[in-house]
Amino acid sequence: MSETFPASMHWLHTWTGVIIGALLFAIFWMGTLSVFDREIDRWMMPATRLAPAATVSLDAMAKTMTQTGAAEWGMQLPTDRTPIVSGYTVTDGTYAFLNLDPATGKPLHDPATRGATDFFFPFHYSLLIDQWQIGKWLIGLAAIAMMALCVSGVVIHRRIFADFFTLRIGRKTSRTTLDLHNVAGVLGLPFNFMIALSGLVFFIAVYVPGIQSVVYPAAGSSFTQDAFGGFDRDAAGEARALGSLDAMAREASRRWGGDTARIVRVTHSGDAAAYVSFDRSLARRVSMTSDAVIFDGPTGRLLHEHRTGPMMTTQRFISGMHFAQFRHWPLRWLYFASGLLGCVLIATGSLFWLQSRTKRHMNEGAVGMPLVRAITIGATTGMIAATLAYLIANRLLPADAAALGQSRAQLEIWAFFIVWIASFAHAALLPRRAWAVQCWAIAAGALTAVASNAVTTGDHPLHAALRGQWGVAGMDLVMLAGGSVAAIAAMRLWQRKPRLVAGDPAAPALPAA
């Protein structure tokens, strides 16, 4: 491309950043939220803010689940982060979800929200575009771009060691932005590279199926079944009651050296050929192991045990580094901080490009500039404001809300997208104060979210902390801290003399340079 390798990498870094920056920010932001998805779920589903159950009887849960009459059902068992049992049933290929109280086995009220685990998390890995897996492929492209940005960033950083500790926050805005971008990039380098690579490695069956199909040419066997486990047999057509799940769970735990199960699945429930699969808990290891034990439903006899070889074990370990399903609070907070640092890295990268190009492009009368500016503002501050709108809608919509044929859970998502789109429009139409106004919106939104949680559930941070709801209290405190940062940023931006920006109808014609 260019004469020297750094020059080529500079070109790559700049244009990859400009084209993919907004997408990358969305993925990083949603991933950062997903680090605390269970805690956000508790915040958004007040009925599930339960004290941890002392003992959990799988047979009591199974009673409730079999009463649904579904032939196939499963449950995610409680952990230290999730005090409830999340059950699902499959009837004719359609999934239905219900939460159970682990202490009693009785169903809880429908939370009427998709929470974080069913909105932020799928946004993070699929952009909610499931058609032909377009969303996953866009994210794969962004992950490759992230790795290319990491490498090219290191190559073009001229003083990586000399400037390692340098962060000059001062009057020269573009200097501050670049220092911040460099510091965030260097400190976050191991995390960012690892998180992009491990995200790709997790989805090997999506991104590089051609490599697997060459050794799995025949139908009837598949890479995914061999790699991730899988057991199947037909129903017998003869009714028979399910044996004791608790006994099976004890046997599974014995085989796993004391680890408990995290998911239980029952197939052909009530049939003589029913079988029960137990997936191993992820709490005590980095690896997102796919160890599973499958029992005969009526008798509890062992049918199959899935264990992985060294390469798939490596794949599960790398996946586990990405998913962070382990029980390790310091690491969880460090993941969250690293994710936020990644957001800062992406935002300052886009900002630096805008700051260094604005004047030049304005003089040249380029049209792309206002567009990139509006996209950057909407994709960063707009995304955060939309997230808060989703949370506020969750607290303020009445329990039985429905409008235009949309359920309450769907209306929350509408709130997210309406605010997000509005933030792009706002940034495009009123660019001069757009950053400041949207920072104010974030500050106000964070305060409103915390207040609405306190008013509608009584769990203000102190109350929540005192009754052991650390997830809820933490969520409120993080929002208050984030809102304060946004308010400070808004005040600084507001005090600054509004700079001329390209595309602003109010901007006078500049004298030719």
Binding site: I144, V151, V201, I211, V214, V215, G309, M311, T314
Partner: protein, 107 residues
Amino acid sequence: MARRAATNGGRNTAVDIVSRCLAALPGNYALTIGIGSLLAVALADAGMARVEAAALASMLAFPVFLIVLLWAVHAARLLRAWIVIGGGAVLTNAAAAWLAASPGTAG
């Protein structure tokens, strides 16, 4: 770097840039799948369980893709980038298919 200046005249037209992106992304993908497939078949032939061979080759595909991408962006001559990537993709995929189809393959 007189050689570089002579080969592309120091300019990159829009067509050059699009062509380079095609080599660096879809072309690169075809090459990466070829290299990965060849490795998976070879490892399986050498006696590794095929799920393990496929898993290892699949994981290595991502660093391979990244390195080829960076090389394709920098490669001095666009034509040579296309010959290496396109030719490599055809050769590796064909070799993998031939190895997989030949008798004695653990498959």
